[in-house]
């Protein structure tokens, strides 16, 4: 037991020498709890039926034993932190088990890669590596290609044809990779190792925003955490308490920071700005001694923006700078537009808002409380607040508040853990169980429309085979597994995102008038149009309020009846249609 652990244990009043007969049981119990919870969890999952999901998402189909497994792990972790002079290995085993249970869940219960965007990312990789992107025009994916090039390179070098098969494991891998930099950051904020692990625990229970899927954001966030870890650990200014790196090491680490930042700049639009603002805040507050870093980062950022992304930025300047200072619009697109849909989805949306605001509020109050108690380390509060500035500048397609939450989360978790650490054990257990339930609802609340069946994938495969290059592929809504092949060969459109939706959506579902309006919309597309309807789109329509339950089935039935369309393919979960040739008018 280290001195720090002994000190922390003494603070809790743990008996210095427990009765000998109890020693084995005390030492074995938490390990058994970790193993038991993993076994219980794994045994619970084969019976999960994703098709039975309601609008509450995955939580609606998890069996009671799965909740029992999570509760067992949570109680064991809290007891271990509170009552035992625990080893890091034991605490780490709890955390790794939690990460596996929470973040590998879709990979274990769903048959194919989840999220429409994941499939698109696979298509972007293919387009970049086969060179077809050069003719694709302005597209942000091709102007910030770093992650896609890396993923494509790794997959091809490893002999794997497509990333789709492994994409559902990406959250587990990314979250485990986040553990290292999280530990480094948190170890600079407290000398209590159990507070460090508790903060890590809260981080994983609180990371509901789902930005760890197979995406540039997940990769850039890893680099963000690593750079912050380097800055707060080794870049203390002269005179600051704690060890300070010697000059050669500092120089090498500054080089590494700039290298990682450059890689981040070529991979993601937003994260470099988050890191730049956090670094600048640390420098201005004299918590980072590398004072030239913000300027160097700015130069790297401007070089890439000026030389490599000018085409995209020039074509989207209004959208990019138009949001500056419009906080009301940002809140509207980030919050207001999401709180709609059926009762289950409304509950999920409100839970997300409630969880986010509650965590922020508790963290902020805890920060003030810690400061009053003499905690003088400024880094966690600075790094908690720095990302909020991004919300003043950009709505980021309605996602900026999710990203702000993500960038601030390590420090949100630290402050919340600081409060929990001083609470009695039952209160800590209650918070853990509450966060666990909240995580399952908020994180996987859209799962009914985010997961895909093999039938849906087969239908999209068929669509890919039927549609000639240059044609337009149309879906009713946005949730379907397409764009993974021939990403640049087609135009992809969804009716609910089009300007025609105002008229089409106002007509009775599946009525001849609505089908005629859909036909007109498709005739207006270039290169011939194909329409694909899937189970996941039907779920999206119902969940998010684009139509009443069963409305897409009515559309499907209307299309089958219509002489304007011909059905090219159908299975249990999907249909593919093309426009029928127009009858020639009589001479």
């Amino acid at each position: 037991m280290t001195l720090l652990e002994r000190t922390a244990a003494d603070l809790d009043g743990v008996p210095a020498v427990p009765a000998r007969a109890n020693v084995v049981a005390i030492r074995a119990a938490p390990w058994l709890a970790v193993g038991g919870s993993l076994v219980l969890w794994t045994l619970s999952l084969p019976g999960v039926q994703p098709r039975a999901m309601t609008s509450l998402g995955l939580v609606s189909v998890l069996p009671a034993t799965a909740f029992a497994a999570l509760a067992l792990l949570g109680v064991s972790f809290c007891v271990t932190v509170w009552r035992r002079p625990a080893s890091s290995a034991l605490l780490a085993s709890h955390v790794v088990a939690l990460v596996f249970m929470l973040y590998a869940l879709p990979a274990l219960v769903e048959p194919t890669a989840r999220f429409a965007v994941t499939w698109r990312h696979a298509g972007v990789i293919q387009a970049i590596l086969d060179g077809s992107y050069r003719d694709a025009g302005s597209n942000p994916y091709f102007e910030w290609p770093g992650f896609f090039v890396l993923a494509g390179f790794a997959a091809k070098a490893a002999g794997v044809g497509s990333v789709i098969g492994a994409a559902n494991w990406a959250p587990l891998v990314f979250e485990l990779l986040y553990l290292g930099p999280l530990l480094l950051i948190l170890r600079t904020l407290t000398i209590d190792p159990r507070l460090v692990w508790l903060a890590v625990w809260v981080f994983y229970l609180g990371n509901w925003v789902g930005q760890d899927y197979f995406s540039p954001q997940a990769f850039a966030y890893l680099l963000y955490l690593i750079v912050l870890a380097i800055l707060v650990t080794w870049m203390r200014p002269a005179g600051w308490p704690g060890s300070r790196a010697r000059p050669p090491l500092r120089a090498a680490l500054i080089g590494i920071v700039l290298f990682l930042f450059a890689v981040m700049v070529v991979s993601h639009q937003l994260t470099p700005f988050a890191l730049l603002s956090s670094t600048a805040v640390l420098v201005v507050a004299r918590r980072c001694g590398a004072r030239g870093l913000p300027a160097a980062m700015t130069v790297i950022l401007l070089i890439w923006l000026a030389y490599m992304t000018a085409g995209f930025l020039g074509g989207h300047s209004t959208e990019i700078v138009g949001g500056i200072g419009h906080l009301d619009a940002t809140v509207g697109t980030n919050v207001g537009s999401r709180v709609r849909g059926d009762a289950g989805h409304l509950f999920v949306a409100q839970a997300r808002i409630g969880m986010t605001l509650s965590l922020w509020a508790v963290a902020f109050l805890a920060a003030l409380w810690l400061r009053r108690r003499g905690h003088r380390e400024p880094a966690p509060l600075l790094l908690f607040l720095a990302p909020f500035g991004l919300a003043l500048v950009q709505p980021y397609g309605g996602e900026i508040l999710l990203r702000v939450f993500l960038f601030a989360l390590p420090f949100t978790a630290f402050f919340i853990a600081s409060v929990m650490r001083r609470a009695p054990l039952p209160a800590a257990i209650a918070v853990t169980l509450l966060l666990t339930g909240g995580f399952l609802v908020t994180r996987y609340g859209n799962e009914r429309m985010d997961w895909f069946t093999r039938g849906e994938v087969s239908a999209v495969d068929r669509l890919d085979a039927l549609a000639p290059a240059g044609s337009t592929l149309v879906a009713w809504s946005n949730s379907l597994p397409w764009e993974a092949r021939h990403y640049t060969a087609h135009r992809y459109r969804s009716i609910v995102s089009s300007t025609a939706w105002a008229r089409i959506g106002a007509l009775p579902s599946g009525s001849p008038r609505q089908i005629a309006a859909v036909a007109r919309y498709m005739r207006s597309q270039k290169g011939g149009a194909f329409l694909v309807l899937t189970r996941s789109q039907a779920a999206e329509v119902e969940i998010t309020g684009y139509g009443p339950p069963g409305s897409l089935a009515d559309v499907d039935a209307g299309l089958r009846r219509s002489t304007a369309f011909r059905r090219l393919y159908a299975n249990r979960d999907a249909s593919v249609y093309a426009l029928a040739p127009r009858p020639r008018s009589a001479p």
Binding site: P145, V160, P181, F259, L260
Partner: protein, 113 residues
């Protein structure tokens, strides 16, 4: 076990030879995939990070992951923009960078303190 006690130069050198060899010989995916992915995740980074003398396994592995992914990406992007995209050649170049770092570790270790 301290990360410093792991003979990283030798481990990295072995992985830097094995990963391209498996790719070039078309080894079965079950063998090739874990070796190549672990090498790409840690190899280039652990070729250089021990030179920093951080003395903390968590810090060394964390920074090594960052450097490894950055080197992989930089080499692959350079190949793509140079119009010379080829995954196996890119892997060989990354392995060469890692071997260079491993050699530096050996040189440093052989130098009298």
């Amino acid at each position: 076990m301290s990360a410093r006690r792991v003979p990283w130069a030798a481990v990295v050198a072995a992985a830097a030879v094995a990963a391209p060899a498996l790719a070039l010989t078309g080894a079965p995916v079950a063998v090739r995939l874990p070796v190549v992915l672990v090498f790409l995740l840690l190899g280039p980074g652990m070729a250089f990070v021990p030179l920093l003398g951080l003395g903390d396994p968590v810090a060394e592995l964390t920074i090594a992951v960052g450097i490894s992914l950055a080197v992989d990406l930089a080499v692959a992007l350079a190949m793509l923009y140079a119009g010379a995209w080829a995954p196996t050649t890119t892997l060989v170049l990354v392995a060469a960078v890692a071997l260079g770092g491993a050699a530096l570790q050996r040189v440093k270790a052989a130098r009298p303190a």
